[in-house]
C-alpha cells in the first residue's frame, strides 16, 4: 500500500523540500495581461516581482483546472494506491473545489483521493503537507494522514507583514483585514489567516518594529514543529529574522522560503512573513491567541 501526497503551488514549498518528501505540486495559473503562466513553473518568483510594480493591468490568478488535477491523480494512481491532496484555504482560492471534483471522478475509477482544505496558505500549508509526507514515509495509513493534516493545519500559522495593502485590496483577498484599509498613518499591516481568511494580526509603525514584532510572534507560537521565514523580495531581512529566531526552529535553523508568484501577487514586493506549525504541546499559534 502506498500513498501519494499532493499539494498546490500556493504552498510555496521550496523545490528541494518537495522533492525530498516526494510531494507533487499542482501549479495555479498566473495571468499577466494576455499571457498565462504556470505558478512556479513558467514564471518564477523573482520574475513576477520584477514585473509586478510596473503592471498597468493587475495580474490575476486562477485555480488549476479539474483536468490538471485529474491528469496528475491518474498518473499517481499508476504507482500509488491512495492519494492525499492538501490545499490552500477554500476561502482564498477555488483550487480545493477543483481537487474535490477530480477526486470524485477518481473514486468512480476506484482510487481513493482524500482532499483537505487546510484554511491556510503558503508555508503554513507547505509544512502541513511535509508533516503528512513524513508520517506516510514512516508507515502511516491514509486515515492517520487525514487526521494529521487536520491537526497540523489547525496548529499552523501564516503571518505576512506587507509594505502596502494595495495588492491585497486589488486582488480581492482582504477579508477581515478590511479594518486596516484607510488607516491614515503609514503603518506596516501584519496579517494572518484565521478560519481561512485574512485577519489583522498587528501593526507596526515601521519596518524595523515590524521585524521585531515578527520575531516576537515566533516566540509566542513556540514550541514549534516547523518554521520557515518568508519573503517576496528582501532575502536579507528574512535571513536577519531567521538569525534572531534560530533557537525556536526545531533543528536550530529555520528554512528561508520565497513566496511564490500567486501568493506574492496578493502581498506584493517587500513582504516578510512566517509559515510555522506549533507543537501539539504548545497552545498558542502566532497571531491567533483566541
Amino acid at each position: 500500500m502506498s500513498i501519494a501526497v499532493v499539494t498546490d503551488s500556493t504552498s510555496d514549498l521550496p523545490v528541494d523540500l518537495a522533492k525530498q518528501h516526494g510531494i507533487s505540486i499542482v501549479p495555479l495559473n498566473v495571468h499577466i495581461e494576455d499571457e498565462t503562466f504556470l505558478d512556479g513553473v513558467t514564471i518564477l518568483a523573482d520574475e513576477m516581482y520584477r514585473r509586478l510594480p510596473d503592471q498597468k493591468v493587475i495580474p490575476t490568478t486562477s485555480a488549476p483546472s479539474v483536468g490538471s488535477f485529474l491528469e496528475l491523480y491518474e498518473k499517481l494512481a499508476e504507482t500509488h494506491d491512495e492519494i492525499i491532496s492538501i490545499h490552500i484555504s477554500s476561502k482564498l482560492s477555488l483550487t480545493h473545489g477543483a481537487a474535490v471534483n477530480a477526486a470524485a471522478e477518481m473514486k468512480e475509477k476506484g482510487t481513493r483521493v482524500e482532499v483537505i482544505d487546510t484554511e491556510q496558505a503558503s508555508m503554513a500549508l507547505g509544512w502541513t503537507t511535509v508533516q503528512v509526507a513524513e508520517l506516510i514515509a514512516s508507515g502511516g495509513t491514509i486515515e492517520d494522514a487525514v487526521a494529521l493534516a487536520k491537526s497540523s493545519s489547525e496548529r499552523a500559522s501564516f503571518v505576512g507583514m506587507v509594505d502596502t495593502l494595495e495588492y491585497l485590496v486589488r486582488g480581492g483577498r482582504i477579508g477581515k483585514a478590511q479594518g486596516f484599509v484607510g488607516t491614515l498613518l503609514r503603518i506596516r499591516p501584519i496579517l494572518t489567516l484565521i478560519n481561512g481568511e485574512a485577519h489583522p494580526a498587528g501593526r507596526a509603525r515601521n519596518r524595523t518594529k515590524g521585524i521585531a514584532r515578527i520575531k516576537e510572534m515566533v516566540a509566542e507560537a513556540a514550541p514549534l514543529d516547523k518554521l520557515a521565514i518568508l519573503y517576496t523580495t528582501d532575502r536579507a531581512d528574512a535571513e536577519e529574522i531567521a538569525k534572531g529566531v534560530a533557537e525556536f526552529a526545531p533543528d536550530g535553523s529555520p528554512i528561508i522560503a520565497q513566496l511564490g508568484p500567486v501568493v506574492g501577487n496578493y502581498l506584493g514586493p517587500g513582504t516578510l512573513g512566517l509559515g510555522l506549525v506549533s507543537s501539539e504541546s504548545g497552545n498558542a499559534t502566532a497571531g491567533n491567541a483566541e
Binding site: 479594518g179 491614515l184 498613518l185 494572518t192 498587528g202
Partner: protein, 555 residues
C-alpha cells in the same frame, strides 16, 4: 461638651441643600480667580470652571422638596457629583460629596462630627483616586482640613463651629501650598483647586450663619509678603478663555473690489483660524475672535456686511459633543464586535484618524483640554459601545481619573488604558488586535504607553514663569513629558528645537498639526523636519486639534 445647637434638623434637608447651593454660588463668584490660579499657561481644564460645572450637576439633582431627609439627599448628591465630575478638580470635589454621603449614612441629620468624618473620607478617597498624588494641591488641603475638623469635632460637636474651624484652616492650608509645590512658588500663585475648596467652605459657612450673600469674592490667601492681584490675573484669564474658544464669526462683505489678500492678512492679525474666500465683489470671512465686534468693524473697511453669524464656540463645542454622542447612540445600531474601543479626542483629523485606526470597533468621545468629559459622558460612551468588552482611552491626564471611575459604574467589562495624551492614545490604538482577548489587548496597549514620548507645542495664553522659563503671552513653547523644553516666537522653530533634544533612540516621530496650521504650513513642517533630521522617520498628519499647533509622538 456643649450640646449641638446647629444640627440639620431631623427629617429635613433644607440646611444641607442650602449649604450646597451656597457652595455653588461661592464658586461661581470666584470662578475666574480660581481659573487664574491655574499654573500651567496651557488652557488645560480650567479648575474653576470644572469645579463649577461639577457643582451645578449636583444642584440640578437637589430635591425641590425641602422635607426630603438628609441621608437621602446625601446619597443623591454623591452620585450626581461623581457623574457630573469634570476634570481632575471635579473628581476630587466629588470625593467631598462621597464623604458627606458616607458620613451621614443612615442618620437624618448632619452634625459637626459627621462633617469631620466626611472630610476625612474625602481626603482618603481623593488620595486613592489619583495615580500620583501630589502635595501642595487640593489633596493637601483636604487632609489638613480633615485633621483640624477631627480635633474641632472632639472639642465641640456643633456643626457651625466645626465648619468655621475647617474654613479657616482651608485658607491657611492654601496659603502654605507654594511651600510644598515649587511650581506654585515660581508662578507666584497658590493651588487653584485648594483655593476652590476654601471658597466652597466659606460659602457653606456663610449660608449656615445666615449671612448674605452666601457667595462672596474671597481674597486669595498668599504667602506673607506676596500678593495675588486677582483682578489683573482675572483679566488675563478672561482674555485667554476667549482665545481658547471665543466666538466663531462668519460674515460676507460686498464691494466693487475687495483686496482678498489684504483682508486675509488683516483677519489673521486680529483673530484666529481665519478662512477668507472671495470672488468678484463678495468675500466670505470666517474667523475666531475674542471680540466679534472687532472683526465686523474691520470688515466694514472693505465694504458692506451681510449674512452675519456669530456663534459662541463654548456652546458649539458642547453641541458638537452632543451631536457626536447622538450619532453614536443605539438608533445607529452599530454591529456588535468582540471588543470595542472608546477614545476621547478632539480635532477633525484626530477623530478620523482614530476611527480609521480602530479596526471598525472604535468610537470617539469629543473632549480634551478645557473640555474634560464627565464621568457620566464617559459612562454613556462606554454603555453605547457595541460590545460588552470595552477598552477606554482617556487620552488626557485630566480625564484619566474620571475614566478610572467608569469600570465600577457599568456591568460591562471595561479596561482603562492610562493614555495621558491623544498621541499616546493613537500609539496604543495601533496595538489593538481583534485576535486578542480583552486583557491581552489591554496589556499590549498599556505596554506601548510608556514607550511613547509626548510632545506639545502651543502658545502661552498669558504671561507666566514656569520651571524657570519666562513665557510671554503669545510666545510658543514646547513641553515634552510635561517639562518645558523650548520657548520661542515661531511654533516650527520651537518644534524643531524640541525634536533636536529628543532624537536619541527615536525611530518614528509623528507630528499632528493643529487647526491653526494651514496645509502649506504643514508641508513646510514636513520638509523642514525631514531635511533637518534625516536619521528619523517623520510622519506629519492633520490633527485639527485646538490649542496645540503641534502634538508630537516620539517612538
Amino acid at each position: 461638651m456643649s450640646r449641638s445647637n446647629t444640627k440639620i434638623p431631623s427629617g429635613t434637608s433644607s440646611r444641607l441643600t442650602d449649604m450646597i447651593r451656597a457652595t455653588t454660588k461661592a464658586v461661581e463668584a470666584n470662578r475666574d480667580t480660581i481659573n487664574a490660579l491655574n499654573v500651567f499657561p496651557v488652557p488645560d481644564g480650567d479648575t474653576g470652571t470644572n469645579m463649577l460645572l461639577t457643582l451645578r450637576s449636583v444642584v440640578d439633582d437637589l430635591p425641590t422638596n425641602s422635607t426630603e431627609s438628609a441621608n437621602n439627599v446625601a446619597k443623591t448628591i454623591a452620585r450626581s457629583a461623581l457623574l457630573g465630575a469634570r476634570g481632575n478638580s471635579g473628581l476630587i470635589l466629588a470625593q467631598y460629596f462621597k464623604g458627606l454621603a458616607q458620613a451621614i449614612g443612615d442618620s437624618t441629620e448632619l452634625t459637626g462630627e459627621h462633617f469631620a468624618r466626611s472630610i476625612r473620607i474625602a481626603s482618603d478617597s481623593a488620595y486613592k483616586a489619583l495615580p500620583n498624588p501630589v502635595e501642595g494641591t487640593m489633596l493637601t488641603v483636604y487632609r489638613e482640613c480633615a485633621d483640624v475638623a477631627e480635633r474641632s469635632a472632639i472639642a465641640n460637636d456643633d456643626l457651625i463651629s466645626v465648619l468655621a474651624d475647617v474654613a479657616a484652616e482651608a485658607i491657611e492650608s492654601v496659603r502654605r501650598t507654594p511651600d510644598l509645590l515649587p511650581v506654585l512658588k515660581e508662578a507666584e500663585v497658590v493651588d487653584s483647586g485648594g483655593f476652590g475648596f476654601a471658597v466652597m467652605l466659606d460659602g457653606a459657612l456663610r449660608a449656615l450663619r445666615g449671612e448674605s450673600p452666601a457667595g462672596r469674592v474671597l481674597p486669595v490667601p498668599m504667602p506673607s509678603g506676596k500678593t495675588f492681584s486677582g483682578s489683573v490675573k482675572a483679566d488675563f484669564v478672561d482674555a485667554s478663555e476667549e482665545i481658547d474658544w471665543g466666538y466663531c464669526t462668519v460674515f460676507a462683505i460686498q464691494a466693487e473690489q475687495i483686496d482678498i489678500d489684504k483682508l486675509r492678512n488683516h483677519m489673521a492679525e486680529i483673530g484666529r483660524s481665519p478662512v477668507i474666500d472671495g470672488t468678484d465683489g463678495i468675500a466670505k470671512v470666517h474667523v475666531h475672535m475674542e471680540d466679534p465686534g472687532k472683526a465686523l468693524t474691520a470688515g466694514l473697511e472693505y465694504g458692506e456686511l451681510s449674512n452675519i453669524e456669530i456663534a459662541n464656540m463654548d456652546d458649539q463645542a458642547s453641541d458638537w459633543a452632543a451631536d457626536r454622542r447622538d450619532s453614536d447612540s443605539p438608533q445607529a445600531q452599530p454591529e456588535q464586535v468582540d471588543i470595542a474601543v472608546v477614545a476621547v479626542a478632539i480635532g477633525d483629523g484626530l477623530t478620523d484618524l482614530i476611527i480609521s485606526a480602530g479596526l471598525g470597533a472604535t468610537s470617539v468621545l469629543a473632549g480634551g483640554d478645557t473640555m474634560n468629559p464627565s464621568v457620566a459622558e464617559l459612562l454613556k460612551a462606554v454603555e453605547d459601545a457595541p460590545s460588552n468588552s470595552v477598552i477606554l482611552l482617556p487620552n488626557n491626564k485630566n480625564v484619566l481619573p474620571a475614566a478610572n471611575e467608569v469600570p465600577e459604574l457599568t456591568e460591562k467589562n471595561v479596561r482603562v488604558i492610562p493614555t495621558r495624551s491623544v498621541q499616546t492614545g493613537v500609539a496604543a490604538l495601533l496595538e489593538f488586535n481583534t485576535n486578542l482577548n480583552l486583557d491581552e489587548n489591554a496589556e499590549a496597549m498599556a505596554r506601548v504607553v510608556g514607550d511613547v514620548g509626548d510632545g506639545r507645542v502651543c502658545q502661552a495664553s498669558r504671561d507666566v514663569t514656569v520651571y524657570g522659563h519666562e513665557i510671554r503671552k503669545g510666545m510658543s513653547f514646547a513641553t515634552y513629558d510635561d517639562e518645558i523644553v523650548a520657548v520661542g516666537r515661531d511654533p516650527l522653530f520651537v518644534l524643531s528645537k524640541m525634536i533636536e533634544g529628543k532624537l536619541s533612540g527615536a525611530e518614528i516621530i509623528t507630528v499632528y498639526t493643529g487647526e491653526s496650521v494651514s496645509i502649506e504650513q504643514a508641508k513646510t513642517t514636513t520638509e523642514t523636519l525631514e531635511s533637518k533630521f534625516a536619521e528619523v522617520e517623520f510622519e506629519v498628519v492633520h490633527g485639527g486639534q485646538p490649542h496645540y499647533d503641534y502634538l508630537v509622538a516620539v517612538e
